[in-house]
Symmetry: C2
Amino acid sequence: MSDQALRVPRQPSRPKKARSAERKRRSAVPANEPGAPISLAPLNRLAGYLIRQAQLWVFQDFNETLAPLDVRPVQFSILTLIGENPGLSQMALSRVLGIVRSGLVPLLDSLEGRGLLKRSASTTDRRSHALYLTADGRTLLVRANALVGEHEERLRQKVGPSGHKQLLKVLEVFGRGI
Amino acid sequence: MSDQALRVPRQPSRPKKARSAERKRRSAVPANEPGAPISLAPLNRLAGYLIRQAQLWVFQDFNETLAPLDVRPVQFSILTLIGENPGLSQMALSRVLGIVRSGLVPLLDSLEGRGLLKRSASTTDRRSHALYLTADGRTLLVRANALVGEHEERLRQKVGPSGHKQLLKVLEVFGRGI
DNA sequence: TATTGTTATACTCTATAACTATA
DNA sequence: TATAGTTATAGAGTATAACAATA
């Protein structure tokens, strides 16, 4: 964050000239009062919208809870899946996670660089890697599981014990079990 | 997509030299069979994981359903909120959406460029804009609501009618109602 | 001094195409 | 020919800092 000279400016995602054309004339119309209540009624009746809001809460609380270990949700999923299925290939992992195989590479690079997993040569197919947790990876996963338990408990308190049970049952259909 | 000369190469997110160091030695260890079933049990017991998987399904189905109108979930939320709260300011909108105000600018640029909304001058505060739907915006929102209804119906079929009712009730706590 | 909208910047995630090495 | 892993590339989403205009 200190060496600015190494940075290359990025291509802006939209051409600049389009923007000025987008805001040309602005007639004066009465606006809502600043402190006025905002109606969200139509959105709050959509289960899809509520699922999205719930997911944002989950990720935020997960990240805050797991911050001491610096573990994101997808990293936790990767470590858990490799721990449960030692020798997993990257292709199999990418299929289960719903991530294209090229997107998995930097994620595994990072975890391998931290010494949490290793890519071993497969004995059956020299193209593929067999993924294993290291001892450090197993140790971190134990600590992560404890924190995830705290996070899950906070979620249970948020929706209530019966709500939590209902979620596990109703959303079971979305769990990818192969 | 044709004029390659205009493109500026992007800064890779991670330094290249770190990668080779990350995969040094690879001992040969027995790997899981390629066709072997993969255990997801520990993840499928976490409500947070299931909420995430459900949200991925929701976005995918939403995008496929609304593709004819080229409306993403966040764009639908913006149009709905402005339709329900005409004259809304960008600050108020960004707070409700949970988006920082700078992130809202390109979203509104795009929708304004498509003629779906307009930024009008506020009568009370010359720093702020009052957001309104255009006639085209209202027309599109009507059509979008019909498609969102189809999407919601598919979600209801996915989790069952009683499951859908339970979701609306259990997840109500995540709906931001100000 | 503080706030609103904007710009510039950068990191993450996701996706596609092409390459290497293997099958 | 097809597949596993990798690289390069591009776009979306999200975040911070700084600026001008205004409060």
